[in-house]
């Protein structure tokens, strides 16, 4: 190995499976999660929740609760009203009740907040709050939300012809959003040789990270400072919202997102519990902790999906797709609290043309209110991308079935070809880079696709049921260019600030926040490669708004595309200054210098060199005339475009025809996320995303009865795969760098969730299609539902 290679290896930079920096504290029980925060004089809050999905609040009697020793206060909407805090703005331009104002609109809605000495007394106190309700008719099925006689979910919006995201046509209507050339699409359908149409549901689920949401709010009455420890994926925007709500200057609000026990989209929003804790702390002048329990988590803080879609494809009889049309009914629950970039009511759903060269397309989305918990956040995916990928990946299989073509062949036939990039999609995106045929081919060879199809046919002949699912997805992540994306008017840039110390170690702070992705490890690798300093000497900090530069946070796979790019840019600013210092030290012109792993050396005279460490020292005592001392830089990166990671997945399932139990025999996942920063971490992210996709496709669901009662909100009912059910994952990759990202990286953690859901679903549908199933089978594909299909089709016989 050359010395250059050794020097490079010592940096532990980009491309190396560096062990994680955060692990030593986590394996010794020294993590610092929000619930671990204990401040002197801290009180605990508990939310009183509605048992009804829709009811008038006749009265609230707090007396018995207040009489309980150890209870300090009980807050209701009446108490918040004088402060103007009984309602709060949502990221989607709507408002959301902090505590129910005159009526409740979903089961488990927040009605009162009891503050007590400890968690036990808080719960006792909450039980003693007497609320009298008068039940109202409910709207549960989104398909009936806009019926003429439907109950009105939101009295506060009656008479208003918009709810923050464009005009609406019914009291329960939130918005209509469409994209694409409708007329051209209609024409393509009229003249097509083959058309297919299929309804399908992306059912209501919840991201449910293992740590629930919570906060500790601490208001210092003397200084007027507010500090909030919060499970937040976006602490800076939370600080802005707290300021907008409370009037406390942003400089006096400090939001700290410490270690976070998983987020997956659940921790992007701002929930009533947070606001109650903040208000309680202001009112009582003491720190107040609020941590939701699991039932509260699954029932209230931001569900995902609930997209009722109808997909249509037009094609010629050889399977070449001519047009795509999608109509969606989106159930957003009682308040429009979905967390999308503000101007995008359906998120980035318009990625629904997928990996295919579809000449024209049209998508139309209506959002409606129902008497169910509010949300519609992105569960381990970029905004509404799982929904979009699901519809196109299912539809292409539906089309394949109709014309009797193999699902792999029809994909190959319709892929955007490598030479078409940058590719302009019919719905307005410019895909940055990709090589879809190569990815699918690699997977098919690795699993012996033809062999599998042969085996399937043989099994079928014996009455055994095997399914093969494919998914060749394209994601759109890294929101986003601020001209297209903002949250409450703040552009979706992200930031990095790097400071090199005289002895050559460094500290860097970013506007993003890790929830398990290992940012402390990977950001340091980026800086190591850019600056030639060992990643072991680079300290990464995030999540404290007092110290970190403003950023929009971590969700929608935006950390690497946006925060990572800011980090590269900041490091390169430092390197440019370092070059000047090196030239000064070596008494040569800057142009005579070249960068070499960890030093600047004189071209043609490699012995003359100054290492980054030497330059760092000189930055504090010997800089060229007229240059500022010090070696640091900040970058606020506004990406020119999104990035478009992609992958090719294949699942093989065996279905027990008597019990409906599905065994995942193989799951092969090939991902292309461009440049790979830490392969070990990427693999871990992919494993985790696949398992969450497995959970959604095969069992997770938040089911409601006709009265709006949530029927499964504990881990008893809500499916979380254990090690026993979880399949073995086989991973693979290709590398197609993003041309516009400064290091070619695209982001990866969400692809496996987005890609695996349709893959599993295609496998189940494939299993039944071969036996003549005519209609698409909706998720979740749990044993009972699979068994029902077996029963309906008469397949559960010997």
């Amino acid at each position: 190995m050359s010395t250059e290679d050794t020097r490079e290896e010592e940096l532990k930079g980009v491309g190396c499976s560096r062990k994680r920096k955060e692990d030593p504290r986590f394996i010794q029980g020294k993590g610092n999660y929000v619930d671990d925060v204990k401040l002197p004089g801290m009180l605990v809050g508990k939310v009183v929740r509605s048992p009804y999905a829709h009811a008038k609040i006749v009265s609230i009697n707090k007396e018995a609760a207040l009489a309980l020793p150890g209870v300090h206060a009980v807050l209701t909407a009446e108490d918040l009203k004088p402060l103007g805090l009984h309602w709060m703005p949502t990221l989607a331009g709507d408002v959301c009740a902090v505590l129910a104002d005159e009526k409740v609109s979903f089961q488990y809605q927040e009605v009162a907040f009891v503050i007590a000495d400890n968690r036990y007394i808080a719960v006792d106190g909450a039980d003693l709050v007497e609320v009298e309700y008068e039940e109202l008719p409910v709207v549960v099925d989104p398909h009936h939300a806009m019926d003429a006689d439907a109950a009105i979910v939101r009295d506060d919006l009656v008479g208003k012809d918009e709810a923050g995201q464009g005009s609406r046509k019914h009291n329960n209507h939130i918005f209509n959003w469409d994209v694409g050339d409708k007329d051209a699409t209609d024409r393509a359908f009229e003249s097509a040789e083959v058309t297919v149409k299929q309804k399908m549901i992306n059912h209501r689920v919840h991201a449910s990270p293992l740590e629930t949401c919570g906060c500790v709010a601490s208001f210092d009455k003397v200084k007027g400072d507010m500090t909030v420890y919060m499970t937040s994926q976006a602490p800076h925007i939370v600080r802005t919202v707290i300021t907008l709500l409370s009037g406390i200057p942003e400089s006096k609000v400090r939001v700290i997102a410490p270690d976070i026990g998983g987020g997956f989209g659940n921790k992007v929003g701002i929930y009533p519990g947070y606001v109650c804790a903040i208000v309680a702390s202001i009112v009582l002048g003491r720190p107040v902790k609020w941590i939701e329990d699991r039932i509260e988590n699954l029932s209230t803080t931001a569900f995902a999906r609930d997209y009722h879609m109808e997909g249509e494809l037009a094609a010629d009889k050889d399977g070449k797709i001519k047009a795509l049309r999608v109509n969606v009914l989106a159930d957003h629950g009682a308040f429009n609290t979905h967390a999308q970039p503000t101007k995008w009511p359906a998120g980035l759903f318009s990625i629904c043309t997928g990996s295919y060269d579809i000449p024209v397309a049209y998508a139309n989305v209506d959002g409606v209110f129902t008497n169910k918990a509010p949300g519609g956040v992105s569960y381990r995916c970029s905004f509404r991308v799982t929904e979009a990928v699901y519809v196109v990946e299912r539809m292409i299989d539906v089309l394949a079935q109709k014309i009797g073509m193999d699902p792999a062949e029809i994909r190959m036939k319709n892929f955007i070809q490598p030479e078409q990039f940058p590719y302009q999609s019919a719905l307005g995106w410019e895909y940055d880079s990709g090589n879809y045929p190569a990815a699918l081919k690699k997977v098919m060879e690795a699993v012996d696709y033809e062999g599998l199809r042969k085996e399937q046919a043989e099994k079928k002949a014996r009455g055994e049921i095997m399914g093969i699912g494919l998914c060749t997805f394209t994601e759109i992540v890294g929101a986003g260019p601020s001209k297209a994306c903002d949250i409450l008017g703040v552009g979706m840039f992200d930031s990095a600030e790097i400071r090199i110390h005289p002895t050559g170690s460094a500290i860097a702070r970013m506007g993003t926040i890790s929830q398990g992705q290992g940012h402390e490890t990977t950001y340091a690798q980026i800086i190591a490669t850019e600056l030639g300093l060992s990643s072991d000497d680079i300290q990464i900090e995030e999540g404290d708004t007092d110290t970190a530069p403003y950023g929009l946070g971590t969700y929608g796979s935006r950390t690497t595309p946006v925060g990572g790019a800011a980090t590269v840019k900041a490091a390169r600013k430092i390197r440019e200054k370092a070059r000047k210092i090196a030239a000064h030290l070596l008494e040569v012109s800057e142009n005579d210098l070249e960068w070499d792993v960890d030093q600047f050396r004189v071209v043609g005279s490699p012995d003359q060199a100054k290492s980054m460490k030497e330059i760092a020292w000189a930055a504090y005592n010997n800089v060229p005339d007229g240059m500022e001392m010090g070696l640091e830089a900040v970058d606020y990166y506004d990406p020119p475009n999104f990035t478009f990671p992609f992958g090719a997945y294949l699942a093989v399932v065996d279905i027990d025809k008597f019990t409906g139990v599905t065994t995942i025999r193989r799951f092969y996942a090939l991902d292309d996320c461009g440049t790979r920063i830490n392969p070990m971490i990427i693999e871990g992210q992919v494993h985790g995303g696949l398992n969450e996709g497995y959970a959604v496709a095969m069992g997770q669901e938040l089911p409601y009865d006709t009265e709006g009662n949530l029927l499964g909100n504990t881990f008893m009912d809500y499916f979380w795969p254990t090690m026993v059910e979880t399949p073995k994952w086989e991973l693979d990759y290709t590398v197609t760098p993003s041309p516009h990202h400064p290091m070619g990286a695209k982001g990866v953690a969400e692809s496996p969730h987005v890609g695996s859901i349709p893959c599993f679903s295609n496998a189940i549908n494939d299993a039944f299609m071969q036996f003549g199933a005519e209609k698409h089978i909706d998720m979740p594909h749990n044993a009972f539902r699979v068994w029902k299909t077996l029963q309906e089709m008469g397949l559960n016989k010997d």
């Binding site: 062990k19 994680r20 955060e22 692990d23 030593p24 504290r25 986590f26 394996i27 010794q28 029980g29 020294k30 993590g31 999660y33 619930d35 671990d36 204990k38 400890n118 968690r119 036990y120 449910s208 990270p209 293992l210 740590e211 629930t212 270690d259 976070i260 026990g261 998983g262 997956f264 329990d293 699991r294 929830q515 398990g516 992705q517 290992g518 070990m680 971490i681 693999e683 871990g684 992210q685 992919v686 494993h687 985790g688 995303g689 696949l690 398992n691 969450e692 504990t714 881990f715 008893m716 979380w720 254990t722 090690m723 026993v724 979880t726 073995k728 994952w729």
Partner: protein
């Protein structure tokens, strides 16, 4: 509510405290005794993040009352390393990337610690079954299983 005096050994140290009879062991360990390594994920015995070792058996500490630990011997993740040396399960989880957000990790480690004493040389299937009381949302389990296999080797080599 009247309080009861209890005492037990926590990570090798004698501790005593006053608790209400209804208080769960996990709350007492975390909130009174300040050992916040063990976490809370459900309080309904499903997730296993509160797993500790009580008198030589794995225990979901949200499942028992603190008074039931009276006179007992409790080990939490904070007590795994001995005289500054990490336990093999800790080393293996770090080496094999068996954790991400770290929230399930204390419970995973405590269950692995006990499981590998129950079955020092487990097959992959046995690991999957023996660890099925512990949920993880981040890792998809594959590297956790690998970590436990590596820990088993490390322990046998000792």
């Amino acid at each position: 509510m009247a309080k009861t005096h209890i005492q037990f050994t926590l990570n090798g140290q004698a501790v005593e405290t006053l608790v209400e009879p209804r208080e769960l062991l996990i709350h007492v360990i975390r909130e009174q005794l300040g050992q916040t390594g063990s976490h809370i994920g459900c309080e309904t015995s499903h997730c296993g993040v509160c797993t500790v070792d009580l008198n030589g058996a794995s225990l979901k500490s949200c499942t028992v009352l603190a008074v039931q630990a009276n006179g007992g011997d409790v080990t939490t993740v904070e007590g795994l390393a001995q005289s500054g040396e990490l336990h093999a399960v800790q080393e293996a989880f770090m080496q094999e990337h068996g954790l991400q957000c770290g929230f399930c990790t204390p419970g995973m480690l405590m269950r692995s610690y006990r499981f590998l004493q129950e079955n020092p040389n487990p097959t992959e299937e046995e690991i999957r079954v023996g660890m099925s009381g512990n949920l993880c949302r981040c890792t998809g389990y594959q590297n956790i299983i690998k970590s436990i296999q590596v820990a088993a080797q490390k322990l046998q080599a000792k």
